[in-house]
Amino acid sequence: MAADHPGTGLLIVGASQAGVQLAISLRALGFTDPVTLIGDEDHRPYQRPALSKEFLQDKITKESLIFRSEDYWREHDIDVVKGEFIEKVHTEPDGSGTAYAAGGRTFDFDRLALTAGARARRLEVPGADLDGVLYLRNADDALELKARVPHIRRVVVVGGGFIGIEAAASLHTLGKDVTLVEYADRLVARAVGERTSAFLADHHRRCGIDIRLGTGVQAIVGADGHVTGVDIGSEVFAADLVLVGIGVVPNTELAEQLGLAVDNGIVVDRFATASDGHTLAVGDCANLPNPAPGADPGSRVRFESVNHAIEQAKVAAYAATGRRADYAGVPWFWSNQGDLKLQIAGLSTGHDQVVDRSPADPTKHSVLYYRNGRLIAADCVNVPLDFMMVKQALAAGVDLSADRVADPSVALKPILTAALEGERA
C-alpha cells in the first residue's frame, strides 16, 4: 500500500481511547504498514474515565489506567510516541504528508488519523486564572487535584455535567464540603431526561452536596493570588478550591489547517473519513452521521464517550484497510457518582414518551424513552439489568412496547427473549 511515496504508514495523532483502539484494530484486521501513535502527554496511553472517580478517590493506581503493556505495543509493531504535540500538518492530494511537532520532530505519513479528542472548556469570568481554579480532563489535571485534596476543606464545583457531578461525589466521599453550581435548571441536561436529572439532584443533596441549579458564576474571588470563593451575584460561596467542569471543546485545529470541513468537530462520513476523502477522524473530535437507533435521518452528532471512540475506531480501521464496515452497536454511556451507577443506552433526544419503571428503592431509577411508539433509550441508575436489556433490544432492533414494561416488578429479560424468538420464528 502506498509504496510510491516514502511512507511511513498510518500516523495517529492523539493517544486517546480512539487512537489506541484504532491502532489495535488496524493490527487485528491485518494492516501491515507502519502504525505510529502520537500523544502530547508524558504518560503511556491511559484511560480517562476513572480520573474523576476511582483514581481521584485513590481506589486504583495509575498503573490500572494504562491501556496496554509495553510488550503489547512492541509485539504488535505499534510505535507509541509520548510527549510530542503536533502543531502543524501538511497533506498532499492523496492524503499523505508530514506532521510537525512543537519540539521540532517531524513525522511523515501515508495517511493521517486525527484522534486528538477535546479539551476542557475554560471558564471566562474575572478571577478564573487564580491559583486553585482547576479543570479535570487529563491525568496531570487529576494528579494536581489529588495533590491538593489533603490541604483543602471547601470545594465549589462549577458545572453539573458528568465530570462535575462525578468529581463532586468523589470529593464529598473524601470528606470535603462540596457545593455544585449549574447554570441550567437541571443536572446533565444534555445527556439524560428530566426525571433522571431530578433523581440525581435529590440523591446528591440527600448525601450532603449543596447543589445550586439555575446558578451562573459572576466571578471567582481570591486573596494573594489564590481562590477564596465563587461569586454567584447574590452571594459568595467560600472555596479553597474551584473545580470547573463546563464541557469540552473538540480539538479541530489540525483539521482546520488542512481545510477539512469542521462543524462542532471534524465532519466525517459513516466511515470516519473527513471531507478530503483520506484523513480519518475518530472519537470526541469527530462529528458524524448520528448512528443512534431512532435518530432523525440526516442528523449529525459528536459524542464524548468511550463506547463511541471504540466503535468509530473500528469503523476507521476498516476504512484504512480499504474495507467498509458500519458502526456497530448502540451508543451507551456510564457515570459512577458516589454510590450511584448511572448507565445510559441509546440517545433520548427527541423522545415523546417516557415510561418510568423505577423500583420503590430510592437509590434505584429506571426510565425508558420512546419516540413514535418505539423504544429509543433508557437511563438506569443501580438497575444494570434494565440497562443491559434495553441496550440489547436496541442493538437487535427489537421493540419493548411501552404498555408491557411500566411495571418495575416485571423483568425485561423474558420480554426481550420472547421478542427475539418471535423475530426468528
Binding site: 489495535i24 487485528a28 484511560q47 474515565p49 476513572a50 472517580k53 476511582e54 486504583i60 498503573e63 490500572s64 489506567l65 494504562i66 491501556f67 496496554r68 503493556s69 510488550d71 503489547y72 509485539e75 504488535h76 468511550v306 463506547n307 471504540i310 452497536g329 451507551w332 456510564w334 459512577n336 451507577k341 448507565q343 443501580n382 444494570p384 439489568l385 440497562f387 443491559m388 436489556m389 440489547q392 429479560k413
Partner: protein, 106 residues
C-alpha cells in the same frame, strides 16, 4: 508468581503471569487477550469481561457482590454457574486461576 490461564471458545489457551492486586481483566487486556472486551475499563458498567471460572478455582474466590451478580444476568452469552466478571476478580499471591472465555462479549 501468580498465573492465569485463559482458554478461548476455540480451545486455545493463553497463560499469563499476573501481578497481585491487579484484576484478572486488566491482566488479560493489557496483554492483548482479545476474548475480553472490558469497554468500561473495570468500573463494573459494561459486562463485557465475562469469564467462566474453573469449578475448583471458583470455590476459592471471594464471593461476588450483588452488583456483579446482577450484571451477569445481562451478559451477551448467558451466564453459567461459575460465571464471573473478570474485572472484579483480584489477583492474589500464588493464584493459579483457570478461566474459559465465552464465544462473544457483545
Amino acid at each position: 508468581m501468580a498465573k492465569i490461564t485463559l482458554t478461548d471458545s476455540g480451545g486455545v489457551s493463553t497463560v499469563l503471569e499476573a501481578n497481585p492486586g491487579d484484576s484478572v481483566m486488566e491482566t488479560a487486556v493489557r496483554n492483548g487477550v482479545t476474548g475480553i472486551v472490558a469497554e468500561c475499563g473495570g468500573s463494573l458498567s459494561c459486562a463485557t469481561c465475562h469469564v467462566i471460572v474453573d469449578e475448583t478455582d471458583f470455590a476459592e474466590l471471594p464471593p461476588m457482590e450483588e452488583m456483579e451478580d446482577e450484571m451477569l444476568w445481562g451478559t451477551a452469552v448467558d451466564r453459567l454457574p461459575t460465571s464471573r466478571l473478570s474485572c472484579q476478580i483480584r489477583v492474589t499471591d500464588d493464584m493459579d486461576l483457570h478461566v474459559t472465555l465465552p464465544e462473544t462479549q457483545i
